[in-house]
Amino acid sequence: MGLTVAFWIMAVVIIAAALAVVFLRNVFRAALALVLCFIAVAGIYLTLSADFLAAVQILVYVGAISVLIILAVMMTREVQQGSPHNKLEIPACIVAAVLLGLLIYSVTATPWRIAAESPLSPTTIPLAAKLFSEHGFILPVEIAATLLLAAILGAIVIAREKEK
C-alpha cells in the first residue's frame, strides 16, 4: 500500500517536472525542474528496491550533471531569450504521440513473465560481485573508465580558452 502511494506520488512529480522542463520559458527554472525530476527518479528506484542505483542517481545526476547544466545556463545567460520552440512543434507532437501510443500498446499487449521471487534487498554487495567478478562485467568496467577519461580530456580541450 505504501509502495503504491509512493509510486503514484513519484510518477506525478516526474511527469510534471518533465513537462516543466519542456514548457517553462525561463531556462534556469527549467534546470531546477530537471533536478526535481532526477530526485523523483531516485525515489522510483527506491520503490523498485534498487537502493545502490538510487544513491548513484542522487550523486551523479543531482550532484554533478545538474551542476554542469546550471553552470552552462549561467555561462550562456546574457543572450538567452527564454527557450522558444522552433517550427517543428506540430510534427514533433505527432511523432511523440504516435510513439507513445505504440509503446503503451506494446507494453500492455505483451504477456510479461513476472518472476515469482522478490528482488534482492541490499543490492550493493551483489552488484559489486556482478561488476568486478571474473565472469561478470569487468571488461565493460575498464572500457567505461577509458571512456570517462577520454570524455574528461575532450571536455577540457574543447572548453578551454585558446591562448593568443
Binding site: 511527469i15 548513484v56 550533471i65 554542469l68 547544466i69 553552470l71 510479461w112 556482478k130 562485467f137
Partner: protein, 103 residues
C-alpha cells in the same frame, strides 16, 4: 490496485516521449541536452523495472543502468563543452542560428 511492471514501463514511455518532444522542438542547445537527459532517465527506469520484475536475482538491468549513467555523464560533459565553445565563437546557442556547417 497493486503496482506492476506495466506501470513502470508506461511511466518510462511517457517520460521518454516528453523528452523526445522537447529535444525535437527546443531551440536552446542547453535545453536540448536537458531533454536528452530526460530520455536517458526514462530508459534507466525501464531497465531497472525489468531487472526487478523479470530477473530479480540477476541484477543485469541495474548493471546496464550503471553503464547508461556513465555514458550519460560523459555525453553531458562533452556536450556542454561544445555548447560553451559555440557560445564563445558565435555568441549564440540558438540552434536555428548555428548553421555554419549546413549545406
Amino acid at each position: 490496485m497493486t503496482i506492476g511492471l506495466e506501470h513502470y514501463l508506461i511511466l518510462s514511455a511517457v517520460l521518454f516521449c516528453i523528452g523526445l518532444f522537447g529535444a525535437l522542438t527546443k531551440r536552446n542547445a542547453v535545453i536540448i541536452l536537458m531533454c536528452i537527459e530526460l530520455m536517458l532517465n526514462a530508459v534507466n527506469i525501464s531497465l531497472v523495472a525489468f531487472s526487478s520484475y523479470i530477473v530479480p536475482l540477476l541484477l543485469t538491468g541495474q548493471v546496464f543502468a550503471i553503464f547508461v549513467m556513465v555514458v550519460a555523464a560523459a555525453e553531458v560533459a562533452v556536450g556542454l563543452a561544445i555548447v560553451l565553445a559555440i557560445f564563445r565563437g558565435l555568441a549564440d546557442i540558438d540552434t536555428n542560428n548555428i548553421n555554419l556547417m549546413k549545406w
